[in-house]
Amino acid sequence: MQPEQQDPIIRFYKPEGDITASSAPLIRVDLKNLIAEGVRDLVIDMTNTRVIDSTGIGLLVATHNSLVRLNGKLAIKNVSQDLFELLKAFRLDKHFSVSGDPRLG
């Protein structure tokens, strides 16, 4: 009997604030735990996130790399215009989906 094809586990994660050198270690633990639990499609909701520094960008790249190795994918949603431009400047929008806050039009 063929094993049933299961849908990858999709999970939404919403940081409580900015993703910076001071907050990244705890967020990294959360994201690692989600992947360890079997999450393969991860959506990070940036509604509460105003600033992402280079440590935070590194964390997003690390999470993307981990998910890709497991045939999963990362998406970032509800980013502000400033954050969208920052992530685009580092070409991260070419590697995973980055979408803006719909309230900004």
Binding site: A21, V51, F90, H95
Partner: protein, 135 residues
Amino acid sequence: MSPVQIKTWAMYACLENADHICMDISAWMTELNLSRHIFPLELLAREALNNAIIHGSQMDPAKKIYAELLCDENILQLKIRDEGPGFNWRGTLQKDMVADNKENGRGLKLYQLYADQVEFNEIGNQVILTRSIKD
């Protein structure tokens, strides 16, 4: 706004202190009616403070970091100095954009993206980031 305004901070090298300075900068920009510059300035301040704390001070909480923000009608200028030995900033600034899938190495590129001028002292333990605010 009066011609030149300057604010200074001295802090021990820990990341929580960097958060406090960034909040202070954000509040001051709002007070000066420069809210549209909060994001780039806060990002520059975070990167420079992170570098001073993590690399310059090796996260040693006994070491001090000195920050100064100057505002006039044309520019915002941020000066951050640590007590570390400095680094080879010339070589690092000349490097190409980091590979997309690399997890670190974007800090100085971020300076170049959001500051109009990036200057280091000779040994590299002080950075001055200048951003034009003239429309």
